[in-house]
């Protein structure tokens, strides 16, 4: 008889690691000042390590500690991060502690990421959508160690992650049930938690942090920075897309275009008699600019990927709208939010830095490998979808007996972006970046085939109505203004496209340019938003005016 195979090598290895560090622990708790030694002991060369960092919440205490480990003991780590946001996330590559990265979004560090790939300091596994990355944590990127952040922890090791629960439960689950080690930084140790977000059974090590985790107010937009051009585009979108397609469930990207729309609902939307008919259920972070629409009865529900600094009291006072625990604080969840965003919505509205002649869009530009965050999941048409809604159904072609509907995926851009560079280009910079960074695929954020509408200050292109690539290109040219792509358009063709309803200019929609005034915004300043919230919204310091 052969010797019996050991089927629990992972568990043995985990137990051995924890045992070797046992002198550092009191139960599950380690001391703040021992954090570097805990990481030195528990992490091994070549480990797959998830360091929690998304576009808002950062396990900053643990990420700073990771830069201080001994590269002789801890090296060649394979990092898995939904967002590369902080300088130290890349410093660990400079220091020889990590060598490989799988990620979704690197916007705030995109230049250094490009440089590190070019000089070989970092190998990239792949650039993922959020859902792909979360999915792979359970398939072929199962982590050895995860480093996550909690607001509060009780003496038994239960975690409260509250408003900013985000992806913590997903990351912890992938490790906890496959013998990975779960290390948690905690802002505060308390006797009684407001509620348990993650049970102590899933947690191995808790380290009280020297200061609270870093949190960015990413979704706060000051109405004062909204331009009249954005108001015009918002009016066109409301009339030509939201109302036309009866859009009831939706997500808005991060941008002033969509903030303008949120602030136009209670005014312009009300004038058009759309209240109750559109924009009822949202997958969206609690953005302050939606407060006037909530207060005037437009919104039935909002589920969120994460929290937003300053919105805590307002959310607690509106449990009919937000997802709030019995304790009165919101619970967010990025993984479920992305699932909802991909499958359960009528429409995604986003923005981009470049759109090519065929309608592909990307925020990756020369020298900046930014990745995309949530847009590729929400900005794709889930072809396996079954349930129907009026909006989805309204995009169904009528010449095919087996035809089905389609998600609305809308790009809103001004024809020239920052630095007066054209947004519409023949070829995306991403094509070059693919070669330089040796990626398997061109880093396109939203594919042409999924893009149903493009809105510019010139008009709307209803791409879903085109029946050839030539027609699609012509529709894009028609609204691309005086960019090189737009200059190829001719009046004859635009006239035909307008007759077919493939292109609509403001006058076709009955939107008058001279009506696009700031006074149309339900709130024109941060103070106005605070007033709408009955004083419950508390803007972060950098958005407060002291004048």
């Amino acid at each position: 008889m052969t010797e019996e195979k050991n089927w629990h090598t992972h568990r043995d290895a985990k137990n051995a690691r924890l045992a070797s560090a046992s002198s550092l622990f009191n139960g599950k708790f380690a001391k703040t000042e021992d954090v570097v030694e805990v990481l030195n002991t528990l992490i091994k060369p070549g480990d797959k390590v998830v360091l929690e960092g998304d576009n808002q919440k950062q396990a900053s205490f643990l990420s700073e500690a990771l830069t201080k480990v001994d590269p002789e003991r801890v090296h060649d780590l394979h990092m898995i991060m939904s967002s590369i946001s902080c300088p130290e996330h890349l410093d660990i590559f400079d220091l020889g502690i990590a060598s490989k990265m799988d990620f979704s979004f690197a916007g705030p560090q995109s230049t250094r990421v490009s440089q590190m790939i070019a000089d070989g300091t970092m190998t990239v596994g792949d650039i993922h959508t959020y859902l792909e990355l979360f999915g792979r944590l359970f398939i072929d990127l199962i982590p050895n160690v995860v480093l996550v952040a909690a607001d509060k922890v009780d003496r038994e090791g239960n975690l409260y992650t509250g408003f900013n629960t985000e992806e913590t439960p997903t990351i912890v689950e992938a490790a906890a049930f496959h013998d990975g080690i779960v290390i948690v930084q905690a802002n505060e140790v308390v006797d009684k938690l407001p509620r348990v977000d993650i049970p102590s059974d899933w947690v191995d090590v808790i380290i009280p942090a020297d200061k609270p985790y870093q949190l960015e107010p990413l979704f706060t937009r000051d109405p004062q920075a909204i331009t009249e051009l954005q108001i015009l585009m918002g009016m066109m979108a409301i009339k030509g897309i939201y109302a036309k397609h009866h859009v009831q469930t939706l997500n808005h990207g991060v941008g002033f275009n969509t903030s303008a729309i949120e602030l136009l609902l209670p005014t312009y939307g009300e004038q058009l008699g759309l209240k109750g008919k559109i924009c009822r259920n949202w997958e969206l972070n609690p953005t302050p600019t939606l407060i006037p629409a909530i207060e005037s009865g437009w919104v039935q529900s909002i589920h969120s990927f994460g929290g937003e600094v300053g919105m805590e009291k307002y959310i607690a006072a509106r449990p009919d709208i937000f997802f709030v625990g019995k304790d009165g604080t919101m619970r967010s969840n990025r993984a479920l939010g992305q699932v909802a965003g991909q499958y359960a919505l009528d429409m995604f509205v986003g923005s981009t830095l470049q759109i090519d002649q065929w309608g592909n869009s990307s925020t990756v530009t020369n020298g900046r490998l930014s990745g995309f965050g949530g847009a590729p999941n929400m900005g794709s048409n889930p072809t396996g979808r079954r349930h129907s809604t009026p909006a989805w159904q309204s995009l169904k072609p009528d010449d095919d007996p087996l035809a089905k509907g389609q998600k609305l995926v809308v790009q809103m851009v001004e024809t020239f972006g920052a630095n007066k560079k054209p947004v519409f280009v023949d070829h995306l910079d991403a094509e070059e970046v693919r070669k330089e960074a040796k990626l398997a695929n061109v880093p396109i954020m939203i594919y042409s085939e999924d893009t149903t509408h493009i809105v510019t200050e010139e008009g709307i292109a209803y791409l879903y109505k085109t029946d050839s690539m030539e027609e699609r290109k012509a529709a894009i040219e028609a609204i691309a203004g005086v960019t090189p792509v737009g200059l190829r358009s001719n009046p004859e063709e635009v006239k035909k496209l307008r007759e077919k309803g493939i292109v609509a200019l403001p006058e076709d929609l009955g939107v008058r340019r001279e009506d696009a005034k700031r006074s149309l915004l339900a709130a024109q300043t941060m103070d106005d938003i605070v007033e709408w919230s009955h004083g419950l919204y508390n803007p972060p310091a950098k958005f407060r005016s002291w004048s």
Partner: protein, 303 residues
């Protein structure tokens, strides 16, 4: 508090700018270099005078800020500015830096007595300018794309006849500005190889130190921490474009709280303002060291 120190190169010099400089330091520098610093409009026709005076002004400001306890987290110099940046990072001592820059200025003055220079193109992207340069460049009439000051502002360096051709093409292709610069040599291009060789020979015999902060290198736009990379930049930045736009992009990814532009001028703060509103900005040519000290203290307390 993370402080990004910015050091401009030639261009902003103006008569009388050394009025506030420590007279002892000025005297010392004149002794080290055998150059009498005139600080007059006439004097600033001469690039040795320009380079040494700007360096002196910047070193004096670095000394004053350090005396008050301030240290940079990141340093970035533009062309000549890298020398004060390296000094601020503790890489090189005062005497050596002045001797090095004297040599550099003299070599640059002598290398191309006539017929060479630089131009600037505003309103076209770097790939667009590259394309025009490629149309004109030849072995007999060389011209290269050089400094990347911002995404839509690039310089070209080479033989004047070729530069003028590129400038004319740039205007035809929609540049909002395309003009010659008052620079008498093709700086930041391969045409400066001989100058670089001689500088490297001089640098090789200096006693240099590991940097105390992050240094943004001109030649590749990277944030570097090793003496080797800084040494390379000091000797060779004359043959490479200054990748300022990339340097600033990288610097901002380190999330500085404050940027401090050393004298002369405020050009780089203006470029930075166009990129971000996420940090405090100080320009030492527009305020006293005491004012800067007051602001730094105020911002540090707020953190």
């Amino acid at each position: 508090m993370r402080n990004l120190w910015l050091f401009p190169g030639q261009g902003g010099q103006n008569p009388g700018m050394l009025d506030q400089v420590d007279p002892q330091l000025k005297e010392q520098v004149e002794k080290w270099t055998n150059v009498k610093l005139l600080d007059t409009a006439e004097g600033y026709q001469d690039s040795v005078q320009i380079q040494l005076s700007i360096l002196l002004l910047q070193i004096d400001q670095v000394d004053q800020l350090k005396k008050l306890g301030w240290q940079p987290t990141l340093v970035a110099g533009h062309s000549l500015g890298i020398f004060a940046a390296a000094y601020a990072a503790g890489v090189i001592n005062k005497e050596d830096i002045f001797k090095l820059v004297t040599l550099r200025a003299k070599l640059m003055q002598e290398c191309y007595p006539e017929g060479y220079g630089m131009g600037v193109v505003v309103g076209l992207s770097r790939p667009e300018v590259k394309k025009l340069v490629a149309e004109v460049h030849s072995d007999t009439n060389p011209v290269y794309i050089s400094n990347q000051n911002s995404e839509m502002q690039n310089t070209i360096s080479g033989k004047l006849i070729a530069i003028k051709q590129v400038l004319a093409l740039a205007k035809e292709n929609g540049a909002s500005k395309a003009k010659l610069l008052h620079v008498p040599n093709p700086s930041h291009s391969p045409l400066m190889q001989k100058t670089a060789d001689q500088l490297n020979t001089f640098i090789a015999q200096l006693n240099l130190h590991q940097p105390s902060c992050i240094y943004l290198a001109n030649y590749n736009g990277h944030a570097v921490r090793s003496l080797k990379d800084i040494k390379y930049d000091l000797g060779n930045n004359v043959i490479y474009p200054v990748l300022w736009e990339t340097m600033m992009q990288v610097a901002l990814e380190y999330q500085p709280d404050v940027s401090s532009e050393f004298s002369p001028g405020t050009a780089f703060t203006k470029l930075l303002k166009a990129k971000t509103d996420q940090l405090h900005m100080v320009t030492l040519s527009a305020m006293s060291i005491d004012d800067a000290d007051y602001l730094f203290n105020k911002w540090e307390k707020k953190e």
